[in-house]
């Protein structure tokens, strides 16, 4: 389909391991967002890309989290030395520049044992 695609849909890892989560936005959408949703909470902003650059990464909780979007399309969220508290659903969304409507993916559920 033409929606935002996220892989993997589920990821189980052990504490201390490295994880990559991928987001493929809707074609033509220049803005891309990562959110994290913990159980019982609303989505929490992590980072925003406009094109290839991270326009705002103020939501990243610490330096274990990093995201890239090298060609202005697909984005990867990288988490180093995972901790149990990183367990959550990681949501990606995209939008047309200047458009307030975000289109979300189905999320990647990360479980850190």
């Amino acid at each position: 389909g033409a929606g935002v695609s996220q892989t993997p849909s589920n990821k189980v890892t052990e504490k201390g391991k490295y994880v990559e989560l991928r987001c493929d936005p809707i074609s033509g959408h220049t803005a891309l967002y990562w959110y994290r949703q913990s159980l019982g909470q609303g989505p929490e902003f992590l980072i925003y890309f406009q094109g290839t650059g991270a326009a705002d990464d103020s939501g990243l909780p610490n330096d274990r989290f990093f995201a890239v979007r090298p060609e202005g399309s697909v984005s990867t969220l990288k988490i180093q030395r995972t901790e149990r508290g990183d367990s959550a659903v990681y949501l990606c969304a995209s939008s047309l520049q200047g458009n307030r409507e975000l289109f979300f993916g189905e999320g990647s559920r990360l479980t850190v044992l």
Binding site: G3, V4, A31, Y33, Y35, G40, Q41, G42, P43, E44, F45, Y48, Q50, A55, D56, G59, L91, A93, R100, E101, L102, F103, F104, G105, E106, G107
Partner: protein
């Protein structure tokens, strides 16, 4: 601080009854507010935004700056309205700040 509060975690109503999902915000400036909805096994999607003043699926929401509220209303709830509803405030022009959500259950 810019914040969105949804005081009800769960709201249960009978089919055909009116429904109001509460949302309060704190924001210094002119707020831009949205309601997003997530139906069972579906992705989060935009329901409506205050600037367009539209009615979607029978839902409306009015921005009340005096009460700093943006409550979502529908006069006659339907079973298919059962879902998780999130109020969101646009922060810094691009980042949405979401509330914790209200789970609406419409029973027959």
């Amino acid at each position: 601080a810019q914040r969105v509060t949804q005081p009800e975690k769960l709201l249960s109503v009978f089919k055909g009854a009116p429904v109001e999902l509460k949302c309060n915000y704190s924001y210094s400036g002119s707020p831009e507010l949205f309601w997003y909805v997530q139906y069972s096994r579906q992705r989060l999607q935009l329901l409506l935004r205050h600037i367009s003043r539209e009615s979607i699926k029978g839902f409306t929401a009015d921005l009340n700056k005096g009460e700093t509220s943006f409550h979502l209303k529908k006069p006659f709830a339907q079973e298919e309205d059962s879902a998780m509803y999130y109020c969101a405030l646009l922060n810094s022009g691009y980042a949405l700040n979401f509330g914790k959500g209200t789970s609406l259950l419409v029973t027959p």
